[in-house]
Symmetry: C2
Subunit: 371 residues, 2 copies
């Protein structure tokens, strides 16, 4: 780490506090206390941010006996990011500002299974992003928009894939994509930075920066839709593991020598859970999911469990209660209060993953993730 690194580290620290303060804003002195820097250093940093248009003064606090504190606020329109959710039957693209607030959206059906070439998908995603940028930002190309305020494009899709290299592996159902360098191909086509990640990781990242804000540095996002997966956030950053394979929650074995699963193993959580759903026994599905969630909570000692996905959205109360019961029981056995690890269904909905994908590019700006 050199001086440039130190500078961008501290700048990101300040930006993150500004972002979390939201519309309320935050004063310079409070920034100094929270970052551990001196007020003078904060003044210098915020002066640079104001010059770049990323921050602005926004009113004053009430005086406490002296000069009142000036409130600083993040200028959300100073930066934008595109998030693309590549789902099995549709492509959803959103444009967000620096706060992660969606300011534009496009949805088009796309039967990925019917399409052979990865290049065609690249083209479809690129066209989607270009249209969105043109429509909302009024720029003709992402390249032109980048000069203004576009930070980049994030793409989320079902795994497995390599986040670091931006290369797809044997994406379930699309063996022809194995080894395709999506990040570089799309980056060349659009001329802006591109990041690629698993759908569950993107969703977890999005939630880490919004829903799970308060106090929860570590949580798990459990996604139950046509499949079962999880995104893990540890210490504010997404944990992806050595091969972006972390969060393989669906094939956790919770019944020794249980019923066979499509993966080749037996007693997998996904198989048990989906079978219960198919039977219409949502309560049992929630109970089974709760066992897996309790295992996860115990292993990682996380603060919060968030549930999402189409199947959960169909009966959020049942799942939150069923899973919550198992997690609470575990907490009690450990000598903790019942509500030590809350379990909640995510209200969001179909847009959760796309919003998180946009955050793939925004997170590094605020010092979250590998940026």
């Amino acid at each position: 780490m050199n001086l440039l690194g130190l500078r961008s580290h501290n700048t990101a620290l300040v930006l993150d506090l500004l972002r979390r303060a939201g519309a309320d804003g935050i004063s310079r002195l409070e920034l100094a206390e929270r970052t551990g820097l001196t007020p003078q250093a904060v003044s210098k940093i915020t002066a640079r941010l104001r010059e770049r248009g990323l921050a602005a003064e926004a009113g004053r606090r009430a005086s406490t006996g002296g000069k009142p504190r000036t409130v600083l606020r993040l200028v959300p329109e100073a930066g934008h990011s595109v998030g693309v959710h590549l789902d099995r039957d549709e492509v959803r693209a959103v444009l967000t500002d620096l706060n992660g607030t969606v300011v534009g959206e496009r949805l088009r059906p796309l039967d990925l299974a019917a399409r052979a070439g990865a290049e065609e998908v690249v083209e479809a995603v690129a066209a989607q992003a270009e249209a969105l940028v043109g429509q909302v930002l009024g720029a003709e190309s992402p390249r032109a928009a980048a000069a203004a305020s576009l930070v980049g494009v994030g793409v989320a899709l079902p795994g497995p894939l390599d986040h670091r290299g931006g290369v797809l592996h044997r994406v379930t159902g699309f063996p022809q994509w194995d080894g395709f360098p999506l990040r570089d191909a799309l980056g060349r086509r659009l001329g802006v930075p591109v990041a690629v990640d698993k759908d569950t990781n993107a969703a977890a990242l999005g939630l880490a920066l919004t829903a799970a804000e308060d106090g929860a540095g570590s949580f798990a996002y459990v996604h139950l839709g046509t499949g079962l997966g999880a995104g893990l956030v540890i210490g504010g950053a997404v944990h992806r593991g050595a091969r972006t394979g972390a969060g393989e929650f669906g094939h956790q074995v919770i019944q020794l020598d249980g019923p066979p699963c499509g993966c080749g193993d037996r007693g997998c959580l996904e198989a048990l859970c989906l079978a219960a759903v198919a039977r219409g026994d949502v309560g049992e599905a929630a109970r089974v999911l709760g066992v897996g969630a309790a295992n996860l909570v115990g292993l990682l000692d996380i603060d919060l469990v968030l549930l999402g996905g189409r199947t959960v959205a169909a009966a959020p109360g049942v799942f939150a209660a069923g899973v919550g019961e198992r997690v609470a029981a575990r907490a009690v056995r450990e000598g903790l209060p019942r509500d030590a690890v809350p379990v909640r269904a995510v209200p969001g909905g179909a847009r959760t993953v796309a919003e998180g994908a946009a955050q793939l590019l925004l997170a590094p700006v605020f010092g979250r993730g590998e940026g």
Copy 2:
């Protein structure tokens, strides 16, 4: 982060590379390449380290056409650390140098269950540490030794406890310790920095800095003795979770509605595994353990699984093979080579935890952990 923080960060980076180079040493230019700093910055940093006695020049490399590179080496004797393993029936204390090499050891039986007061245990540990320091370093008290080279004292014991605050909770079998501030009490008594952690975490930390050195940034240490637990190392640092509860591996449920466990739940890994051991069916114990390990590998996408503890030490081959089989099968299902995640039994033995406890104080010096 301020300039002082930057300085100690880079110093720790250099120290860590020196430590990992071991007796071979490492040249200034190589340090510059590995840290990303300029050669000149490395020269300044190493000059300070040499002045403090932490590093020394040790010979030269062969010339490649110009002035040969000067090899630098960590001076292990420049610092020492005491590691204490508070086991159910004995207290083991070791004194290590900066490399983590054991240079002194003391073992005394101590029936913790028979002793009522936590203060008595503090006194026993303190006496043990003082004797060890006097014996090896020739100092009359840790306070005097600290002035010379003693970094501090690390204590490892079965959980649950709070690592951050150094406070014990309901340590299994010793309810009278609940809420006892071991770190502060021992710190006052000895006059040197003290760290407290779970035995499995300490062992994992020790292995992270020695055995698992090469390439493995993330691994799990699974400990099977009278109980079953795990220590998780993620990105080179021990993952403890919000309440130092991470690594609760023994009560992962892997058999839905299985046999009851002492914890109050059913189908826990520990219950199944210990029952198999009690029956003499080591193969089955290894298979069951393998299911849990494979779950863990899938969830966190780690690089390596290490097995330890008395029960494993009794049949290391059987356990390594049995667990390895399940982990390899999972790797193959994921499309990875069979040996993508190696499983090994730790050769160490009874001293593993005590050595790791000593590293609790050394790790921050090398930028590992919260230091």
